[in-house]
Each structure stands twice: as structure tokens, then as C-alpha cells.
Point group: C2
């Protein structure tokens, strides 16, 4: 597995399999863990950082009962390669920006990604396509067991697993789902959705985490805190909220399909027409149009385009992937031209 | 020749033949004439109006040395049929709105159209595709001779041909060209074009005459007055101005094609993509998009669409034609849906 292969494949989170996948694109578990033997990464000496990175690379590439993981050290990776990892949700933006020893261990299908020396020594992620929080948690649990069989975690009988960030102390667990909510957006209900979700102590973020605005009507919904709650409580809280959100989006889709059919078809077909014909297109417009086309496919308005092609385009038209797939660094204006060409060719082939 | 056939054929003014036709869509001559034996139409008694209409119908359908003309009396014509005649530039809006005896005599190829009992007893029009003012004038001259061989015009040795409208007294001639100026619009030069044209005593109007805004970047440029000028002066004045305008538009097109190629291609290809994919579209957007596609064809950016198809769509997507071709009256929302469908099918067949 190398970055070239990675950038061409469909990540687990976009596989379009599993329950309610037309709305719940993917489910994710993230666990923060630290080693007892080292200070938190922000307090590392250069030697400790290097030593911890080597140690963890060795551990993660030799786990028992775990799909084989490929370790990518970030030192020496180009900006484009780092962007590719961020765009695939395998590492955080902050992790990409650091220049000291750090890395990420990734399973071949990208359902497991473990950041080394980010804010914590270990940030473990498990992805599943569709609404499969319980399954993702089971995989995470086994992964946690496999790692803890090899290393000694920093753990306090009083607080639980220790973490560099107070919101992660306790179970260190963040559970989240990536939702595609185009009908709520088209019917002007996004704001009220935000308010409802915050009221039940869940956080909403855009496609690429905190501070990023909603792109392509894709939203991440996750628990806010992990301290004082058990893993089961965290997962149950999210698991019981998601079907409600799914129901709202589904009702909005039905409303559009039944009461505003002409406008829906127009919006969706124009979006596809734009993607098939534009000669230059920026990321924001691309995500917006892909969102409409995805809705159109899911509602049966568009029948001759595979949803897999659209899901792939959500990632492969982002700046990092676009440059990686073109094999060269491009300035923004060139990127927009290449992006439009890439989309036209992908849709022609579909 | 009936209105059904008329609505399906390509009018002379959209034939896309003749010099500079990529910019000068058509050339038009219009002559106002009145009969000595009757007062101007605004002063008709009901009996005189009826009598004059019958008399002129008889005259116009039996002219010598003139292509055969079909006479359409407007009384009894539906609103849709009247709209069709207006949209084809065969009658004026004012003519369409009247309810007393009036009509229009039209040649099979629509190069000749003579309104009876509009503001004047006779409003004769000759159309030619492309920049062919002299040819249009020759046809008009022969038509005028053929009519004056049968009727006695109202003529004053002092003022020339008398007309109900002071701006038409004298020769009664209005010469005009229909220009397609999308590159001036895309480069923001439309305003300065308007000012220059007014400075040399020419008038600029939109696609459908005075008071209508520029639709589809189509503009009519004509002489302002006919009193005190000979026919030759009027035609020379316009004939010498048009090549300048053509030059400006051509330079703007070259600028777009050479310096802003990416944006030009994007604009043009998106326009075509929109027309091919939209499910509902109003007249204004349609004309704007057709204008870009026409530019794209003329600049070689679009190669698989016939310009004839686009020219036809300029007229056949207008409300009257759309309803005529669908064989039923449609409300605006339905029209927009039918228009989009009509365009998709026309482009698929091209």
C-alpha cells in the first residue's frame, strides 16, 4: 500500500454500504490513548519524540489479530501527500502541519487509521460505511485490546485514560457520523437542525472538522465530551439521535420529491449538466453540485450515474487528490481547470 | 401557408446566411405608406377600417412581380397565434393588440411582411439574413413599385410620403440590423457601444423593439428619423456604421478567445450543459444561454451543435411559439417546464 494506490481507491468511509447509507455516509470511532512511559507530545524532548515514534511504528506494524497496517511517517512527505491523507480523513490538519517525527498507520481498506504523535501519542480511528456505530465500536475495542497487549497506557483510576486534551479524558472516545443532508439544506432547515443537535449535547462540524463550514451538505455529528461517561453511554446517545436526523432528512426528501418535483429535478439535472460541461470549477461549487447529484441518484431522478463515481469525486476533486492524481503541483486556477476536466472524464466513463 | 407551418419553419431573418452573419443576424427595411383615399387608421370610421382592410387584402394578394403573399386577418386569431406573429417579427406588439379589422400579408419565406391598418395603412417590411441592406432595399423598392402600381399613396410634394407618425414622414423608411453582440456584453462594453451608436444618430433597441431590454445580447440598430433625408442617405448612414460595430464585436471575440480562453470555454460549455440538462427554464435565461452557445459555435468552441438549431430555438422557445408548438395554452410555470423539455429534445436531435 502506498500513497499513489491510496489516492486512487475508494476509502471505507465512502464505500456506500450499510444501513441508511443514502443519508449516513459513514460511522467513525476515535479513541485517544497515551503511553505511560512518555510525556504528552507537547512536552516531548526531540529525542523522546523520535523514540516514541519509532517504538509505536514498530508496535503498530506488528499487532496480533488486526488487519496489517502500513505506517506512513510524515517527515519527508510533500505537502500534496499530506493533503491526500487529510482529505481521506486519515490524519487531522494539525497532524499534517507538524514537521517533527510523527506518522499514521493505515489498514489497506482504510477502515483503521492510527495517528502517532498527534496531540496524543495515539489517536485511533475506525471507519465504517453507513450507520454502523456498534460494529465500528467492536472493531475499535479489538484494536484497543491488541495495542494494550503490547504497550502500557497512561491510566488514572480516578479519571480513566489520560489525554492531552481535557475533553478527551475519561474513555477518550469520540463517536461520530458523517451525514449527507441536502434536502434539509434545500428546504432551509439546516439551521434548526443545528440547534436541535446542540440541544442534545452533540456537536456538528463540516466535512473537514472544527471551523470548516458545511461543504457539499456533509456534516459530522459527534459527542461533545467523553469525561464521566462510559463508552456505551456515548455510543447510545449518538445511536439514538441519528435515526431522528435520518427521519427529518427523509421527510424533507419526500417533500421535495412529491411537492416540488419539478424544482428538484431541475436542481439535480442542472447540477449534473454543470459537472459534465464546465471547463473550470472550484472545490466549493464542485461539492455543492456533487451533493445535488448524490441526492438525485438516491431519489431515482438520475439513473445513469453510479453513486460510487460521485462518492469518489467528493474526495478526488479536492486539491490534494487532484494534484496527486495529476502528478504535479498546480496553482489554484490550473487546479480549477484540471478539476473540471477530471470530473467530465469521470462522468463520461460512468 | 398557415400559422402552424409558419411556427415550425426558420424565418428569413434567422437563416444564418449572408455577410457577417455571425454578428449581423439580419437586415431589415421598413416603409410606411398610406392611401390617399382614406384617413389615417386612428381616424377611421368602423366602416372605413373594414373597407380599407378588405381593399388592401385584395391588392396585396394580387400583386405583380412579387412573391405570393398570404394574408392573415388578425380578427379571430387567438392570443397565441398573434404572439407567434410578433415573435417572428412579422407584426408589431401594437398591431397584435388591436381588435378591429387589420392583418398582415406574408411571403412564404417570411422575407416580406406587410401590416395592414397598423399605425399607417401599410407598414411594409423586408428581411434578409446577414448584412444585406442594399439587397433588402432593392426588394423593398420593387415591392413599393408593385403596390403603387395598384393604389394611390398619400404624398405631399413638400413633405414626401405622409405618415401617421411624424418620425416616419418623408421617405417613411426605417432601415435596421439585428446584431448579436455577446462578446461586447461579456467584456462589459455594451454601455459604451450604446453611447457611440446614439452619437451618430442611430437608435438601439432590444430584440422586440422599443422599451424591451436587450435579451440574448441581440440588439436592433436603426436610423432615428426619415424626414429630410433620402433613402440612400438613410441606408448609407447605417451601412457605414455597421462595419464599425462588427469590428468592435470581432475584436472583443478575439480578446476572449486569446486572452480569456478558459473563461470563454467555461461560459459557453456551461451554457450548453444547462440547456441540455435543465428541467425548467424561463425565457430570459434561455435567451442568455442560447446567446453564449451561439458565440461558442461561431468561435469554434462548440462543434457538435448546428447553429441553425440554436437560431430556431431563439424563436421557438418564446411563449407564443412554445404554446403553438405544444398545441395548448400553458401557464408560465408549465411553459418553463415545456420549454426546458423542448430545448433538450432539439439539442439531442442536433
Amino acid at each position: 500500500m502506498n500513497l499513489d494506490q491510496l489516492s486512487r481507491q475508494t476509502g471505507e468511509w465512502l464505500k456506500n454500504e450499510g444501513p441508511d447509507v443514502d443519508i449516513v455516509v459513514s460511522s467513525r470511532m476515535r479513541l485517544a490513548r497515551n503511553l505511560e512511559a512518555y510525556p504528552f507530545p507537547s512536552r516531548f524532548t526531540p529525542e523522546q519524540r523520535k523514540e516514541a515514534a519509532s517504538y509505536l511504528e514498530e508496535v503498530l506494524t506488528h499487532l496480533d489479530d488486526t488487519p496489517p497496517l502500513t505506517y506512513f511517517p510524515l517527515l519527508g512527505l510533500s505537502e500534496v501527500d499530506r493533503l491526500v491523507l487529510v482529505e481521506r480523513h486519515l490524519i487531522s490538519k494539525e497532524h499534517a502541519e507538524g514537521d517533527a517525527e510523527r506518522g499514521v498507520a493505515v489498514s489497506d481498506n482504510e477502515s483503521i487509521a492510527i495517528m502517532v504523535n498527534e496531540e496524543d501519542h495515539l489517536r485511533m480511528q475506525v471507519f465504517h460505511s453507513g450507520l454502523r456505530l456498534a460494529e465500528a465500536w467492536n472493531v475499535m475495542n479489538r484494536l484497543d485490546d491488541a495495542i494494550s497487549a503490547k504497550v502500557q497506557y497512561a491510566f488514572s483510576p480516578e479519571f480513566g485514560y489520560l489525554s492531552a486534551c481535557p475533553t478527551n479524558v475519561g474513555t477518550g472516545l469520540r463517536a461520530s457520523v458523517m451525514l449527507h443532508l441536502p434536502a434539509l439544506a434545500l428546504t432551509g432547515q439546516t439551521e434548526s437542525f443545528f440547534r436541535s443537535v446542540n440541544r442534545i449535547n452533540l456537536a456538528v462540524r463540516g466535512l473537514y472538522g472544527e471551523g470548516t463550514e458545511a461543504m457539499g451538505n456533509l456534516f459530522q455529528v459527534s459527542n461533545q465530551v467523553s469525561l464521566g461517561k462510559s463508552e456505551e453511554e456515548i455510543i447510545d446517545n449518538l445511536s439514538s439521535a441519528v435515526p431522528q436526523i435520518v427521519l427529518y432528512e427523509r421527510k424533507a426528501r419526500e417533500h421535495l420529491a412529491e411537492r416540488r418535483r419539478d424544482q428538484l429535478e431541475d436542481r439535480v439535472c442542472r447540477a449534473l449538466g454543470m459537472l459534465q460541461s464546465a471547463r473550470t470549477m472550484n472545490s466549493g461549487e464542485t461539492l455543492e453540485l456533487l451533493s445535488h447529484v448524490r441526492l438525485g441518484i438516491n431519489l431515482g431522478v438520475i439513473q445513469d450515474v453510479e453513486i460510487g463515481v460521485i462518492n469518489q469525486l467528493f474526495v478526488q476533486t479536492l486539491p490534494g487528490h487532484l494534484q496527486k492524481l495529476n502528478g504535479k503541483v498546480l496553482d489554484p486556477a490550473d487546479r480549477d481547470v484540471h478539476r473540471a476536466k477530471f470530473i467530465r472524464e469521470a462522468l463520461r466513463g460512468s
